[in-house]
């Protein structure tokens, strides 16, 4: 049986006042898949994320989360979504626990259930012992872990990560990349991970290469390599993003 479609993007376009940011995007992401959205700076990754999370609104095209239209059924759609933004979004004056309880409140979770889920997620990320520490006392890698725990608290169907490892040291990056792949491997969750760091791609991942607002490649890693006639992801990425450059 085909896994459920967690995210469907059809004919999506978006323009800022004087510049086209996204041009006719079409792709689907299924449960159990980890999809890496690769693109250089300015490719349109953050714009795409802002549209999926409905921070921006697009009149051209359609985005569905688990079958719910993000524009017309935004609340149902957003209930299925967990997000880790590129910028840190924890409240630095609150403890880890308070940050997570705040998120649970926003998702209408019962207090007892919220505490159980917080314990589960923090234990999985090895952060439970630090739950009473203020966010500002944590290092960058640990803050990211808390943000991932928060994004998973309400058990979403799609996890969006917008360059979550930028600025982290190598061990923190490796731990987060490995953990997120493990989450997708469990089969229930779909992951869309925006990055410009090619070493975050695993061989079993799906790839979407975004360049100048258009999708240049979309498919499992072997297919993308074949399409680019490349042996490494790095070479394939260069092929798709430097075509036409002098």
């Amino acid at each position: 049986m085909m896994p459920a479609v967690a995210l469907s993007v059809e004919n999506l376009s978006f323009a800022y006042t004087n510049k086209t940011a996204l041009n006719q995007l079409n792709f689907k992401i299924h449960s159990g898949e980890c999809t890496l959205l690769l693109g250089p700076n300015g490719a349109g990754k953050s714009t795409l994320f802002a549209l999926i999370t409905r921070l921006y609104d697009s009149r051209q095209g359609c985005i569905e989360l688990c079958g719910f239209d993000v524009r017309r059924q935004s609340r149902r759609a957003l209930a299925k979504l967990g997000v880790v933004f590129q910028q840190p979004t924890l409240d630095m004056d609150l403890s880890v626990m308070q940050n997570l309880l705040y998120h649970a409140d926003l998702h209408g979770m019962d207090g007892k259930l919220a505490r159980q889920r917080i314990q589960q997620e923090l234990e999985r990320l090895d952060m439970y012992e630090r739950r009473f520490e203020k966010a500002k006392e944590l290092n960058g890698g640990h803050r990211r872990r808390v943000e991932i725990a928060r994004a998973l608290l309400h058990q979403p169907s799609l996890l969006l990560l917008d360059e979550p490892t930028v600025g982290l040291d190598v061990p923190s990056r490796t731990a987060i990349v490995s953990y997120v792949h493990q989450l997708a491997g469990d089969g229930q969750l779909a992951v869309l991970w925006a990055s410009h760091l090619i070493d975050e791609v695993y061989p079993q991942d799906h790839l979407i290469v975004l360049h100048q607002g258009s999708i240049q490649a979309n498919g499992p890693v072997p297919e993308v390599l074949a399409a680019a006639q490349a042996t490494t992801i790095h070479a394939a990425f260069d092929h798709f993003t430097q075509a036409g450059k002098p």
Partner: protein
């Protein structure tokens, strides 16, 4: 498995409790914010009002039934000033949160945007009410007293005026793309609102010097909030001020909701990946 789709009344309640609780916690743990919020009105009360006591005599006028000291007159205006500054500070923090990213977590939660904004407003108003009561407590020690019923009646009025002034701040924040632009807007909003109002001098006194200024002060929503607070503090109703403040709240709130509509783009549209 996702959490059950939860937009039930209890979901709304939990979300508002979370937003208000977070704001209150931040306020009480940020001691310097608490103190600075009180220092401003206390300086006006103990220094400005004491200095002008002799030169600014007050005639008998409602809600007062006798001659009053100038300190007594400006106390409701200072309560409103606390709320005005708090409303502007809340909106400043929204611009900051938007720039820093923490606002996004609120905006991607599965609740209607108007409700999220209203919850932020209620949180800001609750903080301002707390500040006002602490200020009134200090004023009471300074012999500026009101009947106990007034202190009770004041609560809903303060909530309404806090919501109205917070909604004005929210509306302003929806138009401000960057934090640096905020200071200028504050100068063009706070000072005119405060000085062209009945906070420091009654309408009849303004009319003596300028009819235009009198009209501006009369229809200034901040004046109406001041009068609402003034009458409530002396346990007297002021239906005109109540209605005017309510309408101003609805108008500002509606405009702020439009301003935060994603089709307009609430985030600063700068580049990105």
């Amino acid at each position: 498995m996702s959490a059950p789709y939860p937009t039930t009344p209890i979901h709304y309640w939990r979300a508002m409790r979370g937003i208000v609780g977070r704001e209150m916690w931040r306020f009480v743990t940020q001691r310097e914010r608490f103190i600075s919020a009180l220092v401003r009105p206390l300086v006006w009360l103990f220094v400005f009002a004491a200095g002008f006591r002799a030169s600014l005599g007050m005639a008998i006028m409602p809600p007062y039934d006798t001659y009053i000291l100038y300190e007594v007159y400006i106390t409701p205006g200072l309560c409103a000033m606390i709320q005005l500054f708090n409303g502007m500070q809340s909106s400043l923090s929204m611009v900051y949160d938007r720039e820093m990213g923490s606002m996004r977590i609120l905006m991607v939660s599965p609740l209607p945007r108007w409700f999220l904004l209203l919850s932020k407003l209620v949180a800001g108003a609750a903080v301002s009410v707390l500040q006002v009561y602490v200020f009134l407590g200090i004023a009471w020690l300074y012999n500026i007293n009101a009947p106990w019923q007034g202190y009770l009646l004041l609560l809903p009025c303060l909530l309404l005026s806090g919501l109205m002034l917070g909604a004005l701040g929210l509306l302003l924040s929806s138009f401000i793309k960057q934090l640096e632009n905020f200071a200028g807007v504050m100068n063009f909003v706070i000072f005119p609102l405060f000085f062209m109002s009945t906070a420091l001098y009654p309408l009849w006194k303004i009319k003596e010097s300028s009819v235009l200024l009198h009209l501006l002060a009369k229809y200034n929503p901040f004046s109406q909030a001041v009068e609402l607070i003034r009458f409530a503090l002396y346990a007297q109703p002021n239906p005109t001020a109540l209605l005017y403040t309510l309408i101003a709240f609805v108008v500002f709130m509606a405009a702020a909701i439009i301003g935060y509509n994603p089709s307009k783009g609430m985030m600063s549209r700068r580049g990105g990946g």
